[in-house]
Symmetry: C2
Subunit: 234 residues, 2 copies
DNA sequence: CCTCTGCCCGTTGTATACATGTGGCTTGGC
DNA sequence: GCCAAGCCACATGTATACAACGGGCAGAGG
């Protein structure tokens, strides 16, 4: 559905700041479609968490504070932590573990000799895959569903800060820490250590929080390049 | 919206078993409305988690296994645990703490002299309120939103098993345990003990899991009286 | 007999006209 | 001058007709 992607893109690129009320008629002419699919699109974006429904009908662009972004990242950490714990406690198949280890190896290959030598595009892709497979290994469609939901807010996604920061050497070096957490996470799951797996996953999400903090307070220009950060208001 | 409540009720009462595909036209004549509001209603029920969207359009009634129900309860525990932890870590106002303690006292008043003497209706109402306020005290609208979402599945709600089991004395006695957890939870939050608060909340949700287990394996007749349990298939 | 292709029917997607409701503004009365 | 009530305009809710898409079945050809 073209209109869905188009409106989503417009919201994520800041065309409609948080709190903006979206009217069916004006959106209909903007998107060159009739009101019916506009309603459909807004309904789906509300499901995604980008829009809020008003009490007496209508939609507004959801507005996020810095604290909301912090909490959304915390939420992702908690949910991924739960997935990791369930995977460890309930056990995973050899095939599943192999799959995770294969991705781990791919991530490993992204690092070069120098501490700040990282192939970011390949890393980003493998990292996204790692997080998806990790959650699948929980064996719970209920948890998987909610992780995917929490991840749909772009600034809460595991890949959120992996773009647009390639120039910061300190950031590239910090990926070594993240990768160590990936390794440890796999070890914890393989060893059926639920609590360990859970808290490593939580701590892993804290990297995103730290990056968010940096973007907001140290280098506000980044807020324009990291996907979704334009949604932050106050 | 009458149609929304009507369809929700029909699904929750098992008129459309999990996996049933809902067609716009037939539903439209059943509910005596046109296709447009039917689409709207189905969209909202998909948001609630009662329906699943099909890839090429259309909706089916979401189907839950016993394992899904267990995981949904686990999810609620994890989210309420996070709310409790945040409340403890970040601190709550005196007014907030007072409010929680007032509800705690109301719950206390529901217990009589005998171990199985409990005013169930009053308890159920105060219990629901307790869980709502607890989550509010987290101070996080993001977390609150997700707890409310997780709670919308009727069998995962904190009040799910408080109806239709009044006749089981052992069940009424088990409420003493729940109430002790309520007390301890408040103590942990007041004392800024985040980890303690989190795990008490998780353990608290386990009571629901135990009740689910009982209903499914020991007393299947209960599945007809506990709201939402008819949604369970295999 | 098996397979591939094309048609047909059922379902959802879209447009549009009409109904309904709500909030704001204006006017009249106290 | 202020408050209240009613009206008007703009927004969403609903109905319905038409379009487009997809899956299944049947018929024909290899």
């Amino acid at each position: 559905m073209r209109a869905l992607m188009e409106l989503r893109k417009k919201i994520l690129s800041g065309d409609y700041p948080g709190g903006t009320r979206l009217f069916e008629v004006s959106l209909a002419e903007t998107l060159q479609i009739s009101r019916t699919p506009v309603r459909e699109v807004m309904s789906r974006l509300a499901e995604e968490g980008l829009l809020d429904r008003l009490a007496n009908g209508g939609f507004v662009v959801r507005s996020f504070t810095y604290a909301d972004a912090v909490d959304a990242i915390e939420l992702r950490g908690v949910l991924e932590g739960t997935a990791a714990r369930l995977a460890a406690e309930r056990g995973v198949s050899q095939a599943g573990l192999d799959q995770l280890r294969e991705i781990l190896a791919r991530l490993e290959d992204c690092f070069g000799e120098a501490a700040d030598d990282v192939e970011l595009e390949a890393y980003s892709e493998a990292n996204a895959k790692f997080h998806v497979v990790l959650v699948e290994l929980s064996g719970s469609t209920v948890i998987q569903r909610e992780v995917e939901r929490a991840t749909r807010l772009p600034f809460a996604s595991p890949s959120a800060f992996l773009s647009g920061r390639a120039h910061v050497a300190a950031f590239r070096q910090s990926l070594h820490i993240a990768q160590e957490q990936h390794r440890t996470l796999v070890s914890a799951i393989a060893g059926r250590e639920g609590a360990r797996a859970e808290f490593i996953a939580r701590e892993h999400a804290r990297i995103a929080r730290k990056n968010l903090e940096y973007a907001v307070f140290e280098d506000p220009e980044l807020m324009l390049t990291v996907p979704g950060l334009v949604l932050l208001n106050s």
